[in-house]
C-alpha cells in the first residue's frame, strides 16, 4: 500500500463512509496512518538511513536542528550536557580514511537499554521507536551503562524553557526520540532529516522500514548497508550506507 498519511486523511471521509457502509470490509491494509486515538502498531517500523558518503565534514545542520526541535540546550559544560545526536569523525586505523556521520539512538529491535531498565521506563514502542518514559525513570543510568552506542544522556541539572515537543527534566535519562511527536502527527520526517535535506545533502532519510514502497526501504533494498556493531545482533532501526 502506498497511501501516505496525508492522502489517507484526504480520503478519510471516504474511508469512514466505507466503514459505515461495509463494516465487514478490512481496512487494515489501507491504514498506514492512524488517528489520534489509535495506538501505534507493529505494522510500521520507523527508522533512519544515513548515507555516510553524503554527510559533509564540518556540517552540523542535523545536530542543531535536533537540539532546537527538542529543546536540548547546552549549559556550557560539555561533559554533562546532553547530546541526542552527534557528528562523529570515523578514521580507519589502517588506511587513515576519514568519514563523517551522525550517531544517535539506533532504535534497536532488541535494545539492551530496555532489557536492563528496572522500572520499564526504557521501552520500545510497537512501531520500533525506543523511548524513555520519564514519568517512571528513576535516574539509575543503568541504560547508559548498557547502550553500546553511547546514545543516551543523563540530565545533570535543572532544565527550563523546554520545547513543547520534548518534555525533559533533571534526574532522568533521555535520547533521540526519532521525533516521535512528528511521527504521531503523521509527519513523515524528523528534524535531522529535514535539516540535512535543506542543506542539500540528503544524507538522512526517515521512513517506515516495513513499507516496501517507502523511500528508505527501497534505498536499503537497492544498495548495501550496515549497522553499527552488527556483531551484537540488535537489528538497529538506524542503518548506514557508504560506511567502509
Amino acid at each position: 500500500m502506498s497511501v501516505s498519511r496525508r492522502e489517507f486523511i484526504g480520503i478519510g471521509a471516504v474511508g469512514a463512509a466505507g466503514v459505515a457502509l461495509a463494516p465487514g470490509l478490512n481496512l487494515i491494509e489501507l491504514a498506514t496512518a492512524r488517528s489520534d486515538s489509535e495506538a501505534v502498531t507493529s505494522l510500521q517500523r520507523w527508522g533512519l538511513l544515513i548515507d555516510a558518503t553524503k554527510c559533509a565534514d564540518g556540517c552540523s545542520a542535523c545536530v542543531d536542528a535536533c537540539h532546537t526541535e527538542n529543546g536540548v540546550s547546552s549549559h556550557g559544560r560539555p561533559e554533562t550536557d546532553a547530546q541526542w545526536i552527534r557528528a562523529a569523525k570515523v578514521r580507519d586505523l589502517d588506511t587513515g580514511y576519514v568519514q563523517t556521520l551522525p550517531i544517535m539512538c539506533q532504535h534497536c529491535e532488541h535494545p539492551p537499554c530496555v532489557d536492563v531498565c528496572p522500572t520499564g521506563a526504557s521501552f520500545k514502542r510497537a512501531d520500533g521507536i525506543v523511548l524513555v518514559d520519564k514519568h517512571i525513570c528513576i535516574g539509575c543510568r543503568y541504560c547508559m551503562m548498557a547502550c553500546p552506542y553511547k546514545a543516551r544522556s543523563f540530565i545533570h541539572e535543572d532544565v527550563t524553557d523546554q520545547s513543547h515537543n520534548a518534555p525533559r527534566g533533571k534526574g532522568t535519562v533521555e535520547s533521540c526520540t526519532l521525533c516521535v511527536h512528528r511521527v504521531d502527527r503523521g509527519e513523515n520526517s524528523t528534524a535531522c532529516a529535514d535539516a540535512c535535506a535543506a542543506e542539500g545533502h540528503r544524507a538522512i532519510i526517515f521512513g517506515d522500514l516495513k513499507d516496501p514502497n517507502s523511500e528508505i526501504a527501497q534505498a536499503l533494498a537497492s544498495k548495501p548497508s550496515s549497522q553499527l556493531r552488527p556483531d551484537l545482533d540488535l537489528n538497529t532501526g538506524v542503518r548506514y550506507q557508504g560506511l567502509s
Binding site: T80, A88, I103, P112, Y142, M145, P148, Y149, K170
Partner: protein
C-alpha cells in the same frame, strides 16, 4: 562445649558516645551531600555522560558485596556446622544487614530521582538484573532477620540450620545478581564476562570477613571482653584463603581477556597505560589489597600479631575499594568501541578516555553509607545481645587451646 552467654554492650561510656557522635556526623555529612547533589543535579559531581556511575557506586557496590560476605561466618556455623563460628553468628548476620542497608541507601540517594523510590518498588521489568536485585536485597533483609530470630529465640533454635541454609543460598544468588549487573553488559569491554558473578562472590567472602574481623576486634577491644588468639587466627587464616582466591579470579579474568585480541585495548588500559586506573589496579588492588595482607597473615613474624591482623584486614578493605574503583570507573573510562577497527571522535567524547575525579559530595555520600552501616551495628549491639560475653579460646572451642599449644611447640622447635 560451654554454653555461650550473650549480652548487650553497656553503651554508657564516653567512648561509646564519642563513636556514636563521629558516626552520626559522618552520616549527616553523607545525607547533606546527597541533598546537595539532588538539589543542584549531578553536574556538581565528578560523574558525567561518560563516567555514569561514580564514587557513590564504588562504595555502594562494595558495601552490598561485603554485606553478603559478612554473613559467611554465620553460614559456616549454621550450614557447615563448625562450632567455633557459632558464637560469632549473630554479629555476622547483623553486619550483613547493616552493610546492605548502608549500601542500598547510597545507591538510592545517588539516583537521579530518589523521590521516585516507590516507582522502583511498583514498576518491574523482570528482564532487568536491577529489578531482580531489588527483590534479592529486600528478600535478603527479610531472610536474615528471620535467621537472627531463630538464633535469638531459644525455642526456635532448632530452625537455625534451615534458616541459615536459606540465607546462605540466597546470598549466593544475591551476589551473583550483583556481579551480573556488570557481567551481563554487552556494551562495554571491561564487563560482559560470566566470570564476574563468581568473582563477586569470592570478593564478597574476602571483604565481608575483613570487615567482620575489624568489627569483632574493635567491639571486644573497646568493651574489654576476652577475644582468643585462636579465634582470631582461624578468622585470619580463612581471610587469607579468600584473598588468594580473589587474586586467582582476577588472574583468570585478565588472562581470558588477554587471549582475545578484541579485548587487548581494555587490558592495555587497565594493566599498562591507564594512568590512575593502572596504578589503582597494581598498587591498590593487587599489592595493598592482596599481596601485603597475605604476607602479613602468613609470615611467622606478623601472623600472630593482633595489630598486624587488623592492618591486614584494613588493607583488604582498601584493596576492595580499589578493585571496585578499577572495575566500575575504569571500566567506564575506557571508551566504547563504536565501530571496531576504526577510531571514532566527536564532541560527545567518543574514543577518548574519560577524565573522572571523585568529587567531595560523592565521597561524603559513600562514606555516609559506611557510617549508616556502622551506626546501625553500634545501636543494635547496644539494644540486643549480639555479642558473646567471651570469645576466649577455651569458651569458644577447646580445640583452639590445643591447636595454639601445638603451634607454640612447633615454633619453638623450628627456632
Amino acid at each position: 562445649m560451654k554454653r555461650i552467654h550473650y549480652s548487650t554492650i553497656d553503651g554508657q561510656s564516653t567512648g561509646f558516645y564519642l563513636l556514636f557522635g563521629i558516626l552520626a556526623a559522618v552520616v549527616a555529612m553523607g545525607l547533606g551531600a546527597a541533598y546537595f547533589m539532588e538539589h543542584h543535579g549531578h553536574h556538581v559531581t565528578g560523574m558525567d555522560n561518560q563516567v555514569i556511575w561514580g564514587t557513590p557506586h564504588v562504595f555502594a557496590v562494595f558495601l552490598i558485596v561485603a554485606a553478603s560476605g559478612a554473613l559467611n561466618v554465620a553460614s559456616i556455623a549454621s550450614v557447615f556446622g563448625r562450632s567455633m563460628y557459632k558464637p560469632l553468628a549473630r554479629l555476622s548476620a547483623l553486619l550483613a544487614m547493616a552493610l546492605l542497608i548502608g549500601g542500598l541507601i547510597v545507591l538510592v540517594l545517588d539516583l537521579g530521582r530518589p523521590d521516585r523510590l516507590i516507582v522502583a518498588m511498583t514498576y518491574y521489568n523482570f528482564k532487568s538484573i536491577f529489578a531482580w536485585n531489588i527483590i534479592l536485597y529486600v528478600g535478603f533483609l527479610v531472610i536474615v532477620a528471620i535467621y537472627l530470630w531463630m538464633m535469638f529465640e531459644n525455642r526456635m533454635n532448632r530452625f537455625t540450620k534451615p534458616a541459615g541454609l536459606t540465607a546462605f543460598i540466597w546470598r549466593l544468588i544475591l551476589t551473583t545478581g550483583t556481579g551480573s549487573i556488570f557481567g551481563f553488559l554487552v556494551a562495554r569491554e571491561a564487563y560482559d564476562a560470566a566470570i564476574m558473578a563468581p568473582m563477586f562472590i569470592i570478593m564478597s567472602f574476602a571483604y565481608g570477613l575483613a570487615i567482620f574481623i575489624l568489627v569483632v576486634m574493635a567491639a571486644y577491644g573497646w568493651t574489654g571482653r576476652p577475644l582468643g588468639d585462636g579465634v582470631l587466627r582461624r578468622l585470619k587464616n580463612l581471610l587469607g584463603v579468600f584473598v588468594s582466591a580473589v587474586l586467582y579470579f582476577v588472574l583468570v579474568y585478565h588472562l581470558t581477556n588477554l587471549y582475545a585480541t578484541e579485548h587487548h585495548g581494555i587490558e592495555r588500559f587497565i594493566l599498562l597505560d591507564g594512568g590512575r586506573y593502572t596504578t589503582t589496579f597494581w598498587l591498590g588492588q593487587i599489592v595493598i589489597g592482596g599481596l601485603i595482607p597475605l604476607a602479613l597473615f602468613y609470615s611467622p613474624a606478623t601472623g600472630k600479631s593482633r595489630s598486624m591482623i587488623a592492618l591486614g584486614s584494613l588493607l583488604v578493605i582498601i584493596g576492595g575499594l580499589a578493585q571496585m574503583f578499577v572495575t566500575i570507573i575504569g571500566g567506564q573510562a575506557y571508551p566504547i568501541d563504536l565501530i571496531p577497527g576504526k577510531e571514532v571522535t566527536s564532541s560527545f567524547f567518543d574514543g577518548t578516555v574519560a577524565q573522572y575525579a571523585p568529587s567531595l559530595p560523592e565521597v561524603l555520600l559513600g562514606l555516609g553509607g559506611v557510617g549508616i552501616a556502622l551506626i546501625a551495628t553500634l545501636l543494635a549491639v547496644k539494644v540486643l545481645p549480639f555479642l558473646p560475653d567471651s570469645l576466649a579460646d577455651k569458651t569458644v572451642d577447646p580445640h583452639l587451646e590445643r591447636e595454639a599449644a601445638a603451634t607454640e611447640t612447633a615454633d619453638s622447635a623450628t627456632a
